[in-house]
């Protein structure tokens, strides 16, 4: 009994560690299909392609991660095309002809997807332009020479104010002394 108590926490720790590591592996959520390939290279291509195609039904899952019916069919098609010796480009074209740009997690560069590809760069450039303008304005402000010398009138006003406050100060000091 005490042995069980000793082992149990360790086992739980071990199992949760395994589960935790498993979460990081992309294959942990892949659908299990029993496809047969002629070579390890074909299997690798199948994995890569079904990770790159998006399931049209479930939107935010790749073909490899989706349980959707159409994803199952498309995985079967990808397998068929690989075994029949079609190239990756041909398989991508097959998918594109039927499902359009949507099927690619990494859309092709066309006139319609230019903004998608380079939009972020455009915004980065805009931001940079704004930032540079702000810096340049700040630089101009710093370089303007501001004299801290007071002219005659201001100096006299300052001296008067100081003299006034000194007189007030000594008056209050005297009243405090009397008390």
């Amino acid at each position: 009994m005490s042995l069980l108590k000793q082992i149990a926490p360790r086992t739980i720790l071990f199992l949760s560690l395994v589960a935790f590591i498993g979460m990081g592996l992309p294959d942990a959520y892949a659908q299990v299909d029993t496809f047969e390939f002629e070579s390890a290279e074909q299997q690798k291509r199948f994995r890569k392609l079904s990770d790159e195609f998006r399931c049209p039904m479930c939107q935010n899952t790749s073909l490899s991660g989706s349980t959707g019916g159409v994803a199952e069919d498309l995985r079967r098609e990808v397998h068929r095309m690989i075994v029949e010796g079609m190239s990756d480009e041909e398989i991508e074209q097959f998918m594109f002809d039927r499902y359009g740009d949507f099927i690619f997690y990494k859309p092709r560069l066309t006139s319609q997807t230019v903004l998608l590809w380079f939009g972020p760069l455009l915004f980065l450039l805009l931001g940079a332009i704004v930032l540079i303008n702000i810096w340049r304005k700040a630089g101009k402000l710093n370089s303007v020479q501001v004299s801290d010398e007071l002219d005659g009138d201001d100096r006299r006003r300052l001296e008067n104010l100081l003299a006034e406050s000194r007189a007030q100060q000594s008056a209050t000091d005297q009243t405090e002394d009397k008390n």
Binding site: P56, M57, G69, V70, E72, D73, F96, R98, Y99, G100
Partner: protein, 179 residues
């Protein structure tokens, strides 16, 4: 010039706000079909009644191609509309029985009524892939030459019929009459 520049951030904000506001109401589930204005993919299959069919046997007038399955609950929602169209003879409807089992499909038609001229049996979903189908129900409008003109994803109820299909079919018919 500087005055105008001061409004630039406001303008940028407004543009972004409009774009994002629109984005909130876009239906990302409705993907554009790649087959619009393309001929229906070639097929050599059987109907659910075991009769061989191919492209030659499709109606020689505008018709609807409805993708359905006995497992598909939304198909039952649009079913009364198709039954009404069948009874009034407004437009022929061809079915694609997608990823279903033949016997279940036959039972479904028996139980609910059969609005289709015939239903193409696509148990494997392979014909669906050629059509770019990603799940039942989907409905295509096909013209007399077998060219796909429009695709509607999800339920085609009376409202969709009135607002989308009726005008589209009227336009297609007048276009074909003018030829």
């Amino acid at each position: 010039m500087n005055r105008l520049m001061a409004f630039l951030p406001v303008a940028a904000f407004l543009i972004l706000a409009v774009v994002m506001w629109r984005g909130l109401y876009l239906d990302s589930k409705e993907l554009p079909s790649m087959l619009i204005d393309k001929p229906m993919p070639a097929f050599e299959l059987t109907t659910v009644d075991d009769v061989s069919v191919n492209n030659e046997l499709l109606p020689k007038e505008p018709f609807l191609l409805n993708v359905w399955g006995s497992y598909c609950l939304p198909c039952l929602v649009e079913h009364p509309t198709f039954m009404r169209l069948k009874e009034s003879g407004e437009i022929p409807i061809v079915g694609v029985n997608y990823r279903d089992q033949q016997q279940l499909a036959l039972n479904w038609l028996e139980d609910n009524g059969n609005p289709f001229e015939f239903s193409i049996l696509d148990e494997s979903g392979r014909f669906g892939i050629d059509l770019g189908v990603y799940g039942a129900p989907e409905t295509y409008l096909v013209d007399s030459n077998g060219v796909i003109r429009y695709r509607h994803v999800s339920v085609l109820d009376e409202q969709v019929w009135r607002e989308v299909f009726e005008p589209a079919i009227a336009e297609l018919r007048s276009e074909e009459a003018a030829r």
